[in-house]
């Protein structure tokens, strides 16, 4: 499968008290068409920074892409000017955010906000764009779209607003959709509706979707492949079924055990001690070592992301010395 979006060695730094610190470090992700890649992690793991970097939406001051390539159909987005990038954003690559109310313009009708994208990127007339907006709202299953396009965001419920956001993102038929916690602010019954919608749209249009979330339950429901992030790095990546059946990195394992489950009786949860280190205080070796139950002296060395033992033919990688594929590690260096 050829990659649609290929992020290689991406390192993004933030300036804190006059020093540059890496918020994300050496992130490699590749996304194929018609694939949902979930990026999962807790707050401070760098999952949102990864998405914002890929779309070049970082603030101008105090943040920089220090290294790495963001290859989209052979072009390196990291090297484009802001003007060139603005042409790509919202057209070939689109993004939806967590809180639809803060991302929608309260003074414009929903129809105009969808139409705006088409007028800018496709040069459509207002009338034609509005007609297309109506069809898009229909496609994201908003009932009575003809009336709804004339309404303002405050007249929409939370789930409807997120559907309107999705309609804006999909207006130009993007090849890649970045969704940053799109269902976190929604109730579970509505969350399920929106997840189903995203999955249907992905299939119908053959889009690649990068789905960023902190919720492992949501990941299991929607993802084809998963990348787990911790303290600015990808610590494990595998296809979805494999990751949940055989988590390799101690962090993934611990996260699954710390999650209260609705389908299982569990008398004791196993919390992970401590908290995620801040970007100025990341340990030198394995970032998870101070909280890890299996920590050993070797963990003082920073491990690389590599194939794990017992992965068979699958592309299952983890960033852990203890789980590294010993016989291969000897000769792959």
């Amino acid at each position: 499968m050829t990659a649609l979006l290929d992020i290689r060695g991406l390192t993004t730094e933030f300036r804190v008290n006059g020093h540059w610190h890496a918020a994300i470090q050496d992130v490699n992700l590749s996304l194929a068409a018609n694939e949902t890649l979930a990026v999962v992690g807790e707050s401070g793991s760098g999952k949102s920074v990864t998405a914002l970097s890929a779309l070049r939406l970082l603030p101008q001051a105090g943040a920089r892409i220090a290294r790495g390539e963001i290859l989209f159909e052979g072009r390196d987005l990291a090297k484009l000017s802001q003007r060139q990038m603005a042409k790509v954003r919202g057209d070939e690559i689109a993004m939806i955010f967590q809180e639809p109310m803060t991302s929608l313009n309260p003074t414009m009708t929903v129809g105009d906000q969808i139409a705006e994208v088409l007028m800018i990127h496709r040069g459509m007339s207002h009338g034609a764009a509005l007609k297309e907006a109506r069809d898009l709202l229909d496609e994201v299953r908003v009932p009575d779209p003809g009336r709804r396009i004339t309404e303002y965001p405050h007249q929409f419920s939370g789930g409807m607003r997120q559907r309107a956001m999705i309609a804006i993102a999909l207006a130009c038929r993007p090849k890649v959709l970045l969704a940053d916690e799109p269902t976190t602010a929604l109730d579970v019954t509505v969350q399920h509706q929106v997840l189903t919608l995203l999955d249907d749209l992905k299939r119908e249009r053959g889009m690649g979707v990068i789905f960023i979330t902190h919720n492992l339950g949501v990941v299991a429901q929607i993802a084809d492949r998963v990348a787990v992030m911790y303290a600015g790095e990808i610590v494990e990546t595998a296809d979805c079924t494999r990751l949940f059946a055989n988590p390799a990195h101690p962090y993934t394992e611990a996260l699954l055990r710390a999650m209260p489950r609705v389908d299982r009786r569990a008398d004791t949860l196993e919390p992970i001690p401590g908290s995620v280190p801040s970007i100025t205080a990341r340990p030198a070796g394995c970032h998870f070592a101070p909280r890890c139950g299996y920590v050993r002296p070797e963990c003082g060395h920073h491990p690389a992301l590599g194939p794990i033992s017992g992965a068979g033919g699958s592309d299952h990688q983890a960033r852990c010395i203890l789980r590294a594929k010993a016989e291969e590690a000897a000769w792959t260096v």
Partner: protein, 319 residues
Amino acid sequence: MDGLKVEGLKKHFTIGGGFLGGKARKVRAVENVSLSVAPGSSVGLVGESGCGKSTASRTILRLEEPTAGRVTFDGIDVASASPAEMRRLRQRMQFIFQDPYASLNSRRSIRKTLEEPLKVHGIGDPAERRARAEAILSEVGLPRDAMERFPHEFSGGQRQRIGIARALVLQPDLVVADEPVSALDVSVQAQILRLLDDLREKRTLSFLFVSHDLGVIRHFCDTTCVMYLGHVVESGPTQEIMDDPAHPYTVLLRQSSPIPDPANRVDPPRIAGEIPSPANPPSGCPFHTRCPRAIAECRESMPATKEIAPGRQVACHLF
């Protein structure tokens, strides 16, 4: 000692109709809530936003005046208690809030935050108050040097520990916790749940635990009440409700809750729409507009609450 008993609790708010004009409308936030929390047990109140679970919990503690209904704690009527009685009751019923950032005073040291409730209730002399604050601080797992620090110096999980310490410093019998772990990351959430577990066991506390997360409820509560648009639609032992939900709304809620198991992807009935506004609730059963099994009767009359198994109650015409 018969703990907390709530019968037919109602709370309506009026919106509009004031100085700025507009039609006065009634928001029926809580329509009919009955539940009881026996000493040492924990009861979960679960539902989606707008179902009235937070309003119910606040009204039970009389942070809002109830419109109708009866709330008693160990036989004392909370609504008609005199100010002096209420003050004694407040000592025994404490609240833990959702947002550990907003619910602490940023200009007050942790010592002041923890000693304040004792001062308000006139408990002990300064030395005793200090000792009690220090004891509770270590009980919730914070270091001694946290005492002189301020809320901004702590992480979300640590702040929630402070919120818990503040609620427990008065040694209450009942704690009402409104989404106490919703703002926290999974790893920290488990730490706080574990802490609440330990405290519950050590102090034989009873809990009214409000949450939208069925997983958290399953872990923490013995009994669960499911709310929809101001009504308790189903209640019973937590495990039974989670493994074999009866009310169509509980079924939907349970099936929509994501499970971390890709082999078990569920496809709940694709129902349209979201929870209606409590300012304009539907006629009959509040869930009939979204219910996949609705019959004609559901549009017309509100179903009565029936016992379908010991301790298991459902308000639905299908039962």
